[in-house]
C-alpha cells in the first residue's frame, strides 16, 4: 500500500465507505452535504463533491434532487464484498511478507491467529467466513 499519497477526495470517499460498512451510516440515510464537509474538514467543497461523485458512480450513494445524498440500498453488502475480495491481498499478504523478513515462521503466525489470545476488538460480522 502507498497510503498518504491518496488525494483528499479518495480519503473522504473511503471514510464514507467505512461508515457504511460499520453501520454508522445506514442504507437510506442522508450523508453530510458537500457544504458541511467543506466547513467541517476545511476543504474546498469541490473536493468533497468529487468524493460524492465517485461514490454515486459506484452505486454506493444516490442523489435525490433538492434533498441531498443518500446511502443506496445494497450499498453495505456491495462494499463488504469489495473489501473482502481485497482483504487477503491488502491485509494478510503484507503480514506474511513482514513475518518472512523478520524470520517468524508462518506456523507461529497461524498459531497466534487461531489461539484464544484476544487480538483486540474485532468488528461484528453479519456472517462468518470460514477462515478462523
Amino acid at each position: 500500500m502507498f497510503d498518504g499519497r491518496a488525494p483528499i477526495y479518495l480519503q473522504i470517499a473511503d471514510r464514507i465507505r467505512t461508515e457504511i460498512l460499520d453501520g454508522t451510516l445506514q442504507e437510506g440515510e442522508q450523508v453530510m452535504s458537500t457544504t458541511q464537509y467543506a466547513t467541517t474538514y476545511r476543504i474546498n467543497p469541490a473536493t468533497a463533491a468529487k468524493a460524492f461523485a465517485q461514490l454515486v458512480d459506484e452505486g454506493v450513494l444516490h442523489k435525490r434532487r433538492g434533498l441531498g445524498m443518500f446511502v443506496s440500498p445494497g450499498a453495505h453488502d456491495q462494499l463488504l464484498e469489495d473489501r473482502r475480495s481485497r482483504f487477503f491481498a491488502e491485509v494478510v499478504d503484507p503480514v506474511v511478507e513482514q513475518a518472512r523478513v523478520l524470520g517468524i515462521p508462518i506456523q507461529d503466525v497461524v498459531t497466534r491467529l487461531t489461539s484464544d489470545v484476544p487480538l483486540g476488538a474485532t468488528p461484528p460480522r453479519p456472517e462468518e467466513e470460514g477462515t478462523s
Binding site: F2, R5, I8, T35, T39, R42, N44
Partner: protein, 303 residues
C-alpha cells in the same frame, strides 16, 4: 438579513478571469511576460509563486490598479479598466490594507458599504468579532496581523464576484489564520464567488483550493486542479538501481543518496500498475507535499 445599499447589482455573483498575452513591464523589468491564463468563475484559486514572481502585479491588473503594457485582461468578459460595472464587483485586498488608515474601522466599513453593492454589514460585524477587532480603532493603530484580519473582513463582507486576497494571511498568528480559513469557506459555500488567494506559503491553504496557478519569473509555470497536482508528485525510496529504473522517463525533481539507498522525488503521474509493481519490488512510494513540489518546481537554476 443582508444589509445592502441602494445601488443595484447586476450580473452573476461569480466572475471569471481571462488573460491573453498579458505583459507588464516596469522600465527594463518585465514583471509579467505574455501570460495566458483562465480562472474559472466560482472557484477558489491559489496563485502561488515566489517573491517577485508577478503575483501582486497580476492581481493589481485584475483590479485595474495597473494597466498592462500589452495583452488583454478580461474580467467577466470585459476589460476592467475604468469599467464601473466590473470594478464595483472586484475587491483586491493587499497586505498593506488599502484602507483609510486614520479613520476608525467602523467608518471604513461604512465607506466600503457605500462602494460595494453586495456588502453585508452583519457579516462584517460577525467577522470583526471573530477576529477580535474593535470597530472604534483605527487601522494604523493595529498590529500587522490585525490589519491583515481587517483586510479579510473587508474582502469577505464585500461579497464581490471576484475577490482577490494578496498574501493576506501571512501576517496573522495561527488562531487568526484558522479563523480566516473557516470564514473564507463558510462565506464561499454560502455565497459562491471567485476567490483568488495568493501566497508563497501553501501548506495551510492547499486544501481550500480548487485550482492552483504557479507563477514563476513572470510566467505561468503550471495551472492545474489542486487535487490532480497533489497526485502529481511521488517520492520513491529504495536501492539505487531500482529507484533509477523506476524514475527513468520521469522528471526527477530531487535525488538524495544515503549509502545504497536513494530517495527521489518525481513530477508526473504514476499509473496504479506501475506503483503496485514498484511496491512489490521493494520500493517505498510516498506522497509529495504541494509545498515541496512548489519549492522544487520553482527552484532557481537548470532542472
Amino acid at each position: 438579513m443582508s444589509t445592502t445599499t441602494g445601488s443595484t447589482t447586476t450580473g452573476s455573483t461569480s466572475m471569471g478571469v481571462e488573460l491573453r498575452g498579458l505583459t507588464v513591464r516596469f522600465g527594463s523589468t518585465t514583471a509579467l511576460d505574455a501570460v495566458d491564463l483562465t480562472i474559472p468563475a466560482g472557484t477558489v484559486c491559489g496563485l502561488l509563486g515566489r517573491n517577485g514572481s508577478g503575483k501582486t502585479t497580476m492581481l493589481s491588473v485584475l483590479a485595474a490598479f495597473r494597466r498592462p503594457t500589452a495583452g488583454a485582461v478580461l474580467v467577466d468578459g470585459e476589460d476592467p479598466w475604468e469599467n464601473p460595472r466590473v470594478l464595483q464587483d472586484v475587491c483586491l485586498v493587499r497586505e498593506s490594507g488599502d484602507v483609510l488608515a486614520d479613520l476608525p474601522m467602523r467608518e471604513n466599513l461604512a465607506y466600503v458599504a457605500g462602494a460595494r453593492p453586495r456588502f453585508d454589514a452583519d457579516v462584517a460585524g460577525a467577522l470583526m468579532d471573530r477576529f477580535e477587532l474593535d470597530p472604534a480603532k483605527r487601522p494604523d493603530r493595529l498590529s500587522r496581523g490585525q490589519r491583515s484580519a481587517f483586510g479579510v473582513v473587508v474582502g469577505l463582507a464585500s461579497r464581490t464576484a471576484l475577490t482577490l486576497l494578496d498574501e493576506v494571511h501571512l501576517g496573522m498568528d495561527a488562531p487568526s489564520r484558522y479563523a480566516f480559513y473557516d470564514a473564507l469557506l463558510e462565506e464561499y459555500v454560502a455565497h459562491p464567488r471567485t476567490i483568488v488567494l495568493s501566497s508563497h506559503l501553501i501548506d495551510e491553504v492547499q486544501r481550500l483550493l480548487e485550482t492552483v496557478v504557479i507563477l514563476h519569473r513572470g510566467g505561468v509555470l503550471l495551472t492545474e486542479d489542486a487535487e490532480t497536482l497533489r497526485g502529481r508528485g511521488v517520492s520513491v525510496t529504495g536501492p539505487a538501481e531500482a529507484v533509477e529504473e523506476f524514475t527513468a522517463g520521469h522528471q526527477v525533481l530531487s535525488r538524495q543518496q544515503l549509502g545504497r539507498t536513494v530517495q527521489a522525488m518525481i513530477h508526473g503521474e504514476v499509473p496504479p500498475e506501475a506503483a503496485a509493481r514498484a511496491v512489490a519490488s521493494g520500493l517505498e512510494l510516498g506522497p509529495v507535499d504541494l509545498q515541496d513540489l512548489f519549492v522544487h518546481l520553482t527552484a532557481e537554476g537548470p532542472r
